[in-house]
Amino acid sequence: MKKSKQFFMVPYFLWIALFVVAPLLLILYQSLTDGQGHFTIQNYLTYGSSSVYLKMSLNSLWYAFLITVITLLISYPAAYILSRLKHQQLWLLLIILPTWINLLLKAYAFIGLFSRAGAVNHFLMFIGIGPKQILFSDFSFLLVASYIEIPFMILPIYNAIVQLDPALPNASRDLGASPWQTFRLVTFPLTLSGVKAGVQAVFIPSLSLFMLTRLIGGNRVITLGTAIEEHFLTTMNWGMGSTIGVILIVMMFVIMILTNDRKKKRREVLDDEKATH
């Protein structure tokens, strides 16, 4: 039994070695070598001394932060209301469904909505603001990225709210707390785990959404993801691309440590959700 089992495990261990460990080592190796394969920390020195790279990284963090805040502000109330509805499974399914639509198609839809003669500009003209250049601005990038991330924020928060014992907010109310106090001192702190999971699920991908910066941001927004894609596929400077990659990985770990109480990522969060149906 043991031996045959181990035999069947071989592909899985091969996968761990080849596709989990090796890629991480390779990206580190690539960032630490020059074109001839000699060891060098030149890439990191370039990164650290270049205002372009540093500004780009800070910008990327700032945008990811804004996207996370926007989605959180929209999602928390939505998740809260959802948790009080009848037929919750159906409503949840409706929240999940848009995540099954290809991300590129959703981005493409916004190219139409935001275009010069598109629906949003029609609406702006109608309410008297007049047409604006919306597409290819950092504003449109923020909107579309937040739009895409909303479900990934709603689901973990919803899970946390559902798990909250309703007796606790009730008790707080009975003891004379106002609804706002109850929310601020009881409900929110007790559902913080869901918020953290949601922040993790939104923040990390927001650092790397390069297709949106290309399609919607019109190259005005450069995220870490955009920079990596450009170095790997356009300028073919893999060393620098890997360096930025390593920095992205480091940021990812920092964020995971900061939000570390349930190690869940968007996919897992979503899958939990899908699995409960």
Binding site: W15, I74, I96, L104, G112, A117, I150, P179, S208, G245
Partner: protein
């Protein structure tokens, strides 16, 4: 509790409108006789006709489905054995190390996965194309299969396995007749998730696809960069319906396994009361 039910339901309705507007906007204009997404000038099936007579798109759709099917099948097999192996380890530390390694690809941003796989393929001298895309999709689908199967494996009662062997079942029989049927719901969910991951993926494929081979996401990306073509709208309508069918299908697969479990429970209870 609900002081202002109207405001709260209005808010939720607004969120749903925001979530669905872009999708229905796309579908609506796929019937537009005018060639853009701004003015609806008249109803037409023309873009669907173009879509279904577009050889290139049809080949890409078939390739995308083939990649999704093959990669999720392989990932399901490897991942299922992985899950069995992880839970079979006696030491808790080994198990958690394996699980951490398993989850690395789940937490890494797509760009990192794509870039590092590109380095990997290049350093191994593997050409980019169908093969590299397929292997990458298998690779990023394996961890989700493991995560879906593992809870089922952990639920497996060792007494069941002992009973099977006491009653004279061979190892293969125990495996096929006891273990596999028990963890099948997990395997199905894993397969399903792997399939949708593969269909959805853009970033990883974009890095490892090379010049000759394209999947649907990559094709949509390159077309969307050139501007609006209502053929993409027609395609998105078709894909929306496909996604809807998948969601409904998944829902029923789950319902089925759940109701089967309940039926089994009821059987067990009935037997107990009979005795």
């Amino acid at each position: 509790m609900m002081k202002k039910p109207r405001i709260s339901s209005l808010y939720l309705i607004l969120v749903f409108i925001i979530l669905y507007t872009p999708i229905f906007y796309l579908i609506y204009y796929s019937f537009n006789a005018g060639g853009n997404m701004n003015n609806f000038t008249g109803f037409t099936w023309e873009h669907y006709r173009t879509l279904f007579s577009d050889q290139r798109i049809l080949v890409i759709v078939l390739d995308t489905l083939l990649i999704a099917l093959l990669s999720s099948l392989v990932a399901t097999i490897v991942g299922t054995f992985g899950a069995l192996g992880i839970s079979g380890h006696k030491k808790a530390a080994t198990r958690s190390t394996l699980l951490t390694l398993n989850n690395v690809l789940m937490v890494s941003p797509d760009v990192i996965i794509g870039a590092s796989f590109l380095i990997l393929f290049t350093s191994l001298g593997i050409g980019l194309g169908f093969g590299s895309v397929l292997v990458s999709h298998i690779a990023f689908s394996i961890p989700i299969v493991v995560l879906m199967v593992l809870p089922k494996v952990n639920e497996l009662d060792p007494a069941l396995l002992n009973a099977a062997q006491d009653l004279g079942a061979s190892k293969a029989q125990t495996f096929w007749r006891v273990i596999i049927p028990y963890i099948t719901p997990g395997i199905l969910s894993g397969f399903f998730m792997a399939f949708t991951y593969s269909l959805d993926d853009f970033a990883v494929t974009f890095f490892v696809t090379g010049n000759g081979f394209t999947t649907l996401s990559v094709e949509i990306y390159s077309r969307a960069r050139q501007g609006i073509s209502l053929e993409i709208n027609a395609l998105s309508a078709v894909m929306f319906i496909f996604a809807l069918l998948l969601v409904v299908g998944y829902y029923f697969v789950n319902q089925y396994s759940r109701s089967r479990r309940q039926r089994q429970k009821r059987h067990e209870q009935a037997e107990v009361t009979l005795r």
